[in-house]
């Protein structure tokens, strides 16, 4: 079972190597302000005893209204392409993306669900066991932001409380400009704080801030996975939250910038 899922074959590409914890999109709505992995995670990685925590992969589920661009988001992330043609997702799409985080090979399983109401029955069967839940909405359509609440509720129902990291991702940023964008983002940040999610605004078309989001999503998934695998999962997660305030004025972001992969060129 394990061997079939273990990432085999060629080494991961350079832009999929994450050394340190990626930076947030906005400090107003993020799950971790710190610039580094949680101490326990780093320690486990250094000890090299990550093998004992089971499969080194995280499950990511993408939910949200139809036509907000979930599939485009995933395609930009995994294949770095953007297809202008809209094609409704039928059933669920599936991608595996391999990473190397803090020296540990690691895979992300992305389940891209259908947004259409009539396909919801089948999509909801895939929510279980998700380490990362991405609720996507269209920045130019305030309705879709409202609906994320319902989507999240549905997804959380199938998961153990507190076991998943939540991301609120606004799409189609390229369609908005200046004030409208600021307005939409402000509302999104408010909601993100309410549902305790990390907020990102991206554009799959231009690829803007796409990669940062990808890496942080992966890093969060990884952290979550590692922490929940260790016995003191709850306690350590608590410390993550506690540490938030302290990390705010941490090392300057420039230091991070250089470490972050930039070869995708789309950002």
């Amino acid at each position: 079972m394990r061997s079939s899922l273990r990432p085999l074959g060629p080494p991961v590409s350079r832009d999929r190597i994450i050394v340190s914890f990626p930076k947030w999109y906005t400090p107003d709505a993020c799950l971790q302000h710190k610039e580094h992995f949680h101490g326990q995670v780093s320690a486990a990685c250094e000890r090299g005893d990550t093998g004992t925590v089971g499969l080194r992969l995280s499950k990511v589920v993408v939910v949200g209204d139809l036509y907000v661009g979930k599939t485009s988001l995933i395609h930009r992330f995994c294949k770095n392409i953007f297809d202008r043609d809209y094609k409704a997702t039928i059933g669920v799409d599936f991608e595996i993306e391999r990473f190397e985080i803090a020296g540990v090979p690691y895979s992300l399983q992305i389940w891209d669900t259908a947004g259409q109401e009539k396909f919801k029955c089948i999509a909801s069967a895939y929510y279980r066991g998700a380490q990362v839940i991405i609720t996507a909405f269209d920045l130019s359509d305030v309705q879709t932001l409202e609906h994320t609440r319902q989507w999240l509720e549905d997804a959380l129902r199938e998961n153990e409380p507190g076991s998943s990291a939540i991301f609120l991702v606004g799409t189609k940023k390229d369609l908005l400009s200046g004030a409208a964008c600021a307005q939409a983002e402000m509302e999104a940040v408010r909601l993100a704080n309410e549902i305790q999610a990390e907020y990102w605004a991206v554009s799959a078309k231009t690829g803007k801030s796409g990669l940062g989001w990808c890496t942080i999503m992966d890093a969060m998934g990884f952290s979550c996975h590692m922490l929940s695998s260790s016995s003191s999962a709850l306690a350590s997660q608590q410390t993550v939250r506690d540490g938030e305030g302290a990390g705010m004025e941490g090392s300057p972001p420039e230091a991070q910038e250089t470490e972050r992969p930039s070869s995708l060129g789309c950002c």
């Binding site: 079972m1 394990r2 079939s4 899922l5 499969l55 499950k59 094609k87 409704a88 039928i90 059933g91 669920v92 799409d93 599936f94 991608e95 595996i96 399983q109 009539k118 396909f119 919801k120 029955c121 089948i122 069967a125 895939y126 279980r128 066991g129 199938e158």
Partner: protein, 785 residues
């Protein structure tokens, strides 16, 4: 060598040494000599001059020696003079000849070029003449053919005309016979238009009459007139009509079907199958015609038209299905029931069975049909695109994907499957609940009925999802089954284990029957007949043990289920179902399912620990504590007496045996093994405690050693693996208690330990030594360990 050097010298490039001499020579000029006044200086100069003279003489000699050779060379050079003149003459002649030849060749080739040009022009002229003749011939032919209603011939003529080079025709019109050709062309164009009209009209009539040979006849004519698209669209129109009429007929048959019919339960699936088969047959029969007359790569167009009709018919069938089977109503009902605290009356899951089967069958048929289309069109494209660029190929593939994935059939089926998933989930959940509620245990069995029932149900549900041939459906069902097993069903078992194993006293076990009788007596005396007390504890005990077995079997069943599914799906994947990610999706969901097996294993461990601490430990502890009441500070006489009347260990073994026998009968071998392992560990730990509370003398130590040996011997027989390791510390304690003198320990300690690995720390060794009342504490303290 000398020959070579001599001209050098002659030509006045003297070697450096002579140059030095030469320059001196010039230095010692007559003026210099004249200016000299001292004799000494004059002598010196003279001497130098003499020396130089000698050198010059030598050189002169050498040059003179060379004279002969140089002269002979000069002679031979003179002789060569005339030859050179001859060569020069020859070369000039040769150059002349070459120039001549060159000119000649140029002349010849220019003539050839002219000839070639002439030939080409001739060919063109012939071609044009041919074309003009053809044109005339075509015109005449078309007229005759049309008059004779030989449309194939007429179309062939038109085709020939259409294939002619337009510029040729244009040129021909400018010729002398321009006016005539013009007229001919006009006639031809008129004929073309007329033929088109006729063919379209005749085709329409044939279509209306359903005259297949005529339809095919005119269908073949369209491409000759350059009307590929029109031909295909008209033809598919005809085919669609056929499909529609057949489908309508079938649908009417369905509505008239008796509910008692053998296939009544899957009648809609059958109708869809007929529809798909019909279309497949059409593709099969007409593909060769299309390929022959329209060329490869055209099947896609035909299918595109046909799929529209297929979608229309599928919609009708599915609508009827939904209406007749109350599909949506049942779905809403199920949805209501699935909400935990719903008040609506529950649907009997068994009633859903036929409809679920039918839906999966419908989906399986559609998948098969879509797969058939994909294969056909792909291979047709492959032939057609064999020379095309990669881009065109991809574009075609994309079109095909879009057509098949986004057609109404796919969407409708996906919707049906979505509803199916919810209903199947309900079916599974309800049936599992029922199996749990109807759980029964038969004496002599290790497990109760619900485990087998639940796994039968889960297997059935996943199997049904699998039979839909939809990977998304299968994976969704595996996920739901995983959730069901992991939370709901595991909770059931977990709760049963939480009730615990009722702690009973030693007497209950030993005199179960008598105590039952006693209780009966007492209750009879009180005027009540109540055996519930004893029965319910027995029941609770049994229930706990059965649940343990159940948990273990669950864990195993999940692994088996995973393996079965894996092998079932390899066949499916080899057919290329569900696209490239299908296998990865399936593997991911399956590994989640397999992980549940471990959760059951964890639960089993929890249960065993619970059993060990609530049932085994309270029993074993008092038995072990009786060890304290047996003195190990004994004399020879008592020692011998112990030999005959064992004071402790035999009874202890007997008790253990009795207790474990109860478990052995009602636990699976694997669990029993784990339990005995836990029990032996417990015995070892507890025994160690009491030993440390006792005192010994030499014979007492010997007695303990004997007791320990028989205990280990017994435990070895009941466990499958070696227990020596668990008793290592106790054995070492026995060894210490058996020593003659304190210092004897050093024979076993440190460098003398040999193969023995001490499990006791030096402090513990001292502690054990101190248990021997006949050892002096100073001796023990003095020991160097």
């Amino acid at each position: 060598m000398a020959d070579l050097e001599s001209p050098q010298k002659l030509s006045g490039v003297p070697p450096p040494s002579e140059r030095v001499g030469g320059s001196r020579c010039s230095e010692i000029s007559t003026e210099l000599i004249r200016s000299l006044t001292e004799l000494q200086e004059l002598e010196a100069v003279y001497e130098r001059l003499c020396g130089e003279e000698k050198v010059v003489e030598r050189e002169l000699d050498a040059l003179l020696e060379q004279q002969n050779t140089i002269e002979s060379k000069m002679v031979s050079l003179h002789r060569m003079g005339p030859n050179l003149q001859l060569i020069e003459g020859d070369a000039k002649q040769l150059a002349g000849m070459i120039t001549f030849t060159c000119n000649l060749a140029e002349n010849v080739s220019s003539k050839v070029r002219q000839l070639d040009l002439a030939k080409n022009r001739l060919y063109q002229a012939i071609q044009r003449a041919d074309d003009i003749l053809d044109l005339k011939f075509c015109m005449d032919g078309v007229q005759t053919a049309l008059r004779n209603e030989d449309y194939e011939q007429a179309a062939a003529h038109i085709h020939r005309y259409l294939c002619l080079d337009k510029s040729v025709i244009e040129l021909s019109r400018q010729g002398k016979e321009g006016s005539m050709i013009d007229a001919n062309l006009k006639l031809l164009q008129e004929a073309e238009q007329r033929l088109k009209a006729i063919v379209t009209e005749k085709f329409a009539i044939a279509t209306k009459e359903g005259d297949l040979p005529q339809v095919e006849r005119f269908f073949k004519i369209f491409p000759l007139l350059g009307l590929h698209e029109e031909g295909l669209s008209k033809f598919s129109e005809y085919l669609c009509k056929q499909v529609a009429s057949k489908a309508e007929e079938n649908l009417l048959l369905v509505l008239g079907t008796d509910m008692s019919d053998r296939r009544a339960a899957v009648i809609f699936a059958d109708t869809l199958t007929l529809l798909f088969e019909g279309i497949a047959r059409i593709v099969e029969t007409h593909q060769p015609i299309v390929e022959t007359y329209y060329g490869p790569g055209r099947l896609y167009t035909l299918i595109k038209y046909l799929q529209v009709e297929c979608d229309r018919q599928v919609e009708k069938v599915v609508d009827k299905f939904i209406k007749q089977r109350d599909y949506h109503q049942q779905f809403r009902h199920v949805q209501n029931n699935l909400m935990r605290n719903s008040l609506t009356e529950k649907i009997e899951p068994r009633e859903l069975d036929p409809i679920l089967t039918e839906v999966t069958l419908m989906n399986a048929r559609s998948e098969l049909y879509l797969r058939f289309l994909r294969k056909r069109v792909s291979s047709d494209f492959e032939v057609g695109d064999s020379m095309a660029s990669e881009e065109v190929k991809q574009e075609h593939q994309k079109c095909l994907d879009k057509l098949l994935n986004n057609c109404l059939l796919s969407c409708t089926m996906q919707e049906l499957i979505g509803v199916y998933i919810t209903m199947e989930e309900y079916f599974m959940r309800e049936t599992v609940n029922k199996a749990v509620a109807l759980d029964s245990y038969e004496k002599g069995q290790l497990t109760s009925s619900m485990v087998d029932d639940v796994f039968y149900i889960v297997k059935k549900c996943i199997g049904r999802a699998l039979s839909s041939s939809s990977i998304d459906c299968l994976c969704a069902m595996i996920n739901l089954a995983t959730t069901e097993l992991e939370s709901d069903f595991r909770d059931v078992l977990c709760n049963k284990l939480r009730m615990g194993f009722p702690a009973t006293t030693l007497q209950d076990i030993q005199r179960g029957v008598t105590s039952a009788v006693n209780i009966m007596h007492s209750s009879l005396q009180q005027g009540k007949f109540d055996t519930k007390g004893i029965e319910s504890t027995d029941e609770a005990k049994l229930s706990f043990l059965v649940t343990l077995n159940n948990v273990e079997v669950c864990s195993e069943n999940i692994s088996t289920l995973k393996k079965t599914l894996e092998s079932d799906c390899t066949k499916l994947f080899s057919q290329g179902i569900g696209g490239e990610q299908a296998q990865a999706k399936f593997d991911s969901c399956l590994s989640d399912l397999a992980a549940v097996s471990n959760k059951f294993r964890d639960l089993l461990q929890e249960g065993l620990t619970e059993l060990n601490s609530t049932a085994v430990k309270p029993q074993v502890q008092p038995w072990i504590n009786t060890f304290l009441s047996v003195s190990h500070n004994i004399e020879e006489e008592e020692f011998n007496d112990y030999e005959a009347n064992d004071p402790w260990v035999q009874q202890f073994i007997l008790n253990l045996e009795q207790q474990m026998a109860e478990f052995k009968a009602s636990l699976s071998p694997v669990i029993y093994d784990s339990l005995t392992s836990l029990m032996t560990s417990l015995v070892a730990v507890e025994l160690e405690k009491v030993v440390l509370k006792s005192t010994f003398n030499r014979l007492g130590g010997l007695q303990f050693d004997k007791e320990l040996r028989s205990l280990i011997a017994y435990l070895t027989t009941v466990t499958t693996w070696t227990i020596r390791d668990k008793f290592a510390r106790l054995s070492q304690m026995a060894t210490i208690l058996n020593l003659e003198r304190v210092t004897e320990i050093l024979d076993y300690w440190g460098a003398n330990s040999g193969p023995l690995t001490w499990r006791l720390t030096p402090a513990e060794v001292r502690q054990v030594l101190a248990l021997r009342i006949d050892f002096r504490s100073e001796d023990i303290k003095r020991l160097r360990l």
